[in-house]
Amino acid sequence: MNPDLSVRLGSLTLKNPIMTASGCFGYGLELIDLLDLNQLGGIVSKSLTLHKRMGTPPHRIFETASGMLNAIGIENIGVEAYLNEKLPHLSRYDIAIVANVMGNTLEEYAATAARFRGVRRINAIEVNISSPNTKKGGMHFGVDPELTYQVIRAVKDATDRPVIAKLSPNVTDIVQIAKRAVDGGADMLSLINTLWSLAIDHWNGKPILGNVTGGLSGPAIKPVALRMVHQVSRALPVPVIGMGGIANLFDVIEFMMAGASAVQIGTANFYDPTVSVRLVRELRDYCSMRKIDRISSLIGALQSS
């Protein structure tokens, strides 16, 4: 049996639902001597800004129970360097490439997204309105329904690629935010980004992270992510990409049952760098074992109790 692992995300078709999450897979090229990128459904770039960004001072990482905090501060090489130095190498691979964009202002978001106009190898733009680690932009947009609408509209008008709005869990009503993102023109939604967090060094009474606060990710946040994916996918007619603590095959299945058409692997890449390609293989074996012809039949298959 050769199960069909392909999934459709609106106008975009992935050969399988396994993607790597923004900020959790570098620019996509760092692990090419360890795994075969061609096995993946897609990769999402690190958040790209109009100009190079330095990011936040150390420490940027802190381990916590079943997860980690990060405050990287969107350090990145800038959109031009990505287009010139990274994308040509990535283009050799037969995978979907998503560019994640961020800015401090509506204009910066739009200008960054506009750089991908006509860039054939970029299959979609994911809009970071959910990073908790910046003084401007990111989550500051994504926790406000009207700002969410405005930034997604600005990006949609600036680009000819499908637009994915990446949502923050740090909100009272994620469905309300998701709706305004779709009103603004989002073709898809990806969720969740990290939970806004704090770690303290009790020895010296100071915050551990250089940025004071950070974003919690990893298996610790999975139940929150699953609930939000379920809520949003039932409320809105656009494809949902699920993420948050996915580390094994059953996590993938559960997210798809909750309503995700595809998933993104984030923190697990850090401690298990070949996890994403292994999940593709395991997903194929799982479908064969359970006699599932098409993986897409799992999407939203959660039964009411």
């Binding site: 990011g55 990482i61 980690m68 990060n70 190498h89």
Partner: protein, 266 residues
């Protein structure tokens, strides 16, 4: 794109894991693919195969390659992750990703001055052996809190032209800082010297200033909390300067862990 050295992610059987005294441990694992290509100064990201709710791996300098296929690491059990590793038993497995990062450059015909502080001595049994293969017999300066915390003494003695020890409490060697020993020797003769250092922040700051004062090159093995070890999380910044004088963050795992002292700001 820069050439990338091959790396392996192995489930490495533990053959030995012993306490060397206090919080200091030594662990040996079977990892022939990594052992064959590892160079001194490089590190591995390791974790017990089963580690409960502690998910991230820890960066360990390669302390030695034994019999061509065993990797040896020296480490201190001070946090959740390293304590779990210290409780691992022979026959169990470590997840071991490596070899990672860059290595100490061997400068032919130089007088090598190797400076280790605390667990920062870890990469030097391996490096000194490689220096010896290049017919360089280094002066090794080793600082620790007390005599009980000195490790690899015999091996370092064999692999060094001279081994000089300093302890904070005076229980072995010089009563004071290891950098005082380094400075004294440089005072006598700085010519052709190259410094290689790994240790706690304050020691590294002093080494950097000594190198600048005497005008000798120094290579510092830096440390920062790491998420992945391979440059995909951008989580281990080392503040530094670019060749054209701009401030920047280097990544400890990918640009380092070894940096010329002139490019890091510590």
């Amino acid at each position: 794109m820069p050439f990338m050295f091959k790396k392996f992610d192995l489930l490495a059987p533990i053959v030995e894991n012993i306490c060397l005294g206090g919080k200091y441990y030594r662990i040996r694992v079977e990892a022939p693919q990594i052992a064959k290509i590892a160079r001194p100064g490089q590190f591995c990201m390791i974790r017990p195969q089963y580690s409960g709710e502690s998910l991230l791996r820890r960066p360990f300098s390669i302390a030695a390659v034994r019999d061509g296929e065993l990797l040896e690491f020296a480490y201190t059990a001070i946090g959740v992750g390293t304590r779990l590793i210290s409780q691992s038993l022979p026959g169990q497995h470590l997840l071991c990703l490596g070899p990672l990062g860059n290595s100490f450059p061997v400068v032919e015909g130089s007088r090598a001055l190797v400076v280790g502080g605390g667990i920062g001595i870890a990469p030097f049994p391996f490096f000194n052996r490689v220096l010896n293969q290049h017919r360089i017999f280094p002066n090794t300066y080793y600082g620790a809190r007390s005599a009980e915390e000195l490790i690899y003494i015999e091996e370092l003695n064999q692999l060094s032209h001279i081994l000089k020890i300093a302890t904070d409490n005076g229980s072995a060697g010089h009563h004071g800082f290891v950098t005082q020993l380094l400075e004294k020797d440089l005072d006598e003769s700085p010519s052709d010297s190259v410094i290689y250092a790994c240790g706690p922040g304050p020691m590294m700051r002093v080494v950097k200033s000594i190198a600048e004062r005497y005008g000798v090159p120094a290579y510092l093995s830096m440390e920062e909390t790491m998420g992945c070890g391979v440059g995909i999380c951008i989580g281990c910044p080392i503040p530094g300067v670019t060749p054209d004088g701009q401030t920047t963050y280097y990544l400890c795992c990918k640009d380092g862990p070894i940096f010329p002292s002139t490019v890091v700001m510590i």
